[in-house]
Symmetry: C2
Subunit: 244 residues, 2 copies
């Protein structure tokens, strides 16, 4: 669920969804039903509100009980299916929808608010900044072909490898419109979270399996990497120095 | 979908949902897939925004195309199923979720905004102020028994029969909390719409088939009733005089 001009935070008790393969694909079905961490959801919303970011608390069905359940679309269901959703017991989740209408500075503030609330909760929290990249990779895809998609995706991959997501903040609106990414706003949130909790990023894969690009990167808190001796010096606030 | 502290207006291209009978009921299945009248949805939102009512424009799935589809819960699906949703061709819809956190005066303003936008659209528009009434009619129901539910329901029935929904604006918050209605906020929106477009109400039924009360009333624009000679004098702004 998106709310125009604000970042949506679901405060239902549950979140659930299912997805069937398209008719022209091999048969497939996934479904998840997860419990929402409402305390963390409210914690993030309060932090963001205090930072001046417009936040909409989202309900669906009943206000409490089993029927208080956010319907998950593919944008949340697919990453949750691959990252933890099938675990026993499954993790609790907070489902957040960014807004492309807010200035990127507010998405940075929101990302920082996620990290602040996560730290304050004392819980082990993972942030999934899920996002397809450019959508104009194929002439016969639904958005046609635009070379900006490949250029955009390359910039993201380089920014991850350089531990410098900040360079994605200055792309021109026209270029972004041509590249048609879904994920810039989520990546900017991740950048905001990194400003609070320094993490080392690792580019795991980049693929263009269809008309859109997919990049997979893992971020590990820098203090954890220091603790296990994986990096030697604490990262500065300005730029992470992750020696692998 | 509800948004905390604002009235939600869905601006997806479609709205769809399905519902299966509970396991302890005879088998049953309903489903609807309807096109959203986005022009009217934006028209209502703009009117309401100009009236100072906080409005959240809601998206789901894609921002356009088939996958831009609001999932309908029972609160919208059931009334739409019985009122027009099965017609050929089915009507276009605008799905609105009220907020219990706003002052009733803002819900009145929103109702008037619906009527203003409907009139400005030049379309034939019906307003479904769908709402269960008191939910505490049965000792063994999920909300237990409270005599306030029956009292509340009686007040609503009398207000409909007296063509005077305004009397529902002064109920104490404590009484409303005890009566546990779902529908007060939708009825107040209807009251606001009546302030713009006078209509004559007719109480069709009131029943308590389970732990909550259900009231069904039909409202017809007064000028239509005048035109067909069903009423003799134009209704005043203050109170409708509908002689049957």
């Amino acid at each position: 669920v998106r709310v125009d001009g604000m970042i949506g935070v679901a405060v239902t008790e549950y979140a659930a969804g299912e997805l069937d393969a398209d008719a022209d694909q091999p048969p497939g079905h996934i479904e998840l039903s997860l419990t929402v961490d409402r305390d963390l959801a409210y914690g993030i919303a309060v932090q963001a509100h205090e930072a001046g970011v417009p936040v909409g608390l989202l309900g669906y069905g009943s206000s409490s009980g089993e029927a208080s359940c956010l319907p998950l679309d593919w944008g949340a269901l697919i990453p949750l299916w691959f990252i933890g959703g099938q675990a026993t017991p499954p993790p609790q989740v907070v489902v957040i929808t960014p807004s492309r209408q807010l200035p990127l500075a507010q998405l940075i503030d929101f990302g920082r608010s996620i990290a602040e609330a996560a730290a304050a909760s004392g819980k082990r929290v993972g942030l999934i900044a899920s996002s397809d990249l450019g959508h104009a990779h194929q002439r016969h895809g639904p958005y046609g072909y635009d070379p900006a998609s490949a250029r955009f995706d390359k910039l993201v991959a380089e920014a991850v490898q350089a531990e410098d997501l900040a360079r994605l903040l200055d792309l021109s609106p026209r270029f972004i419109e041509s590249a048609k990414p879904d994920g810039l706003w989520q990546i900017v949130m991740l950048h905001g979270a990194l400003g609070h909790t320094p993490m080392c990023g690792e580019l795991l894969s980049y693929e263009v399996p269809t008309y859109f690009g997919l990049l997979c990167a893992a971020y590990t808190p820098a203090d954890e990497m220091l603790r296990v001796g994986y990096i030697k010096t604490p990262p500065s606030d300005q730029a992470l120095q992750c020696a692998r």
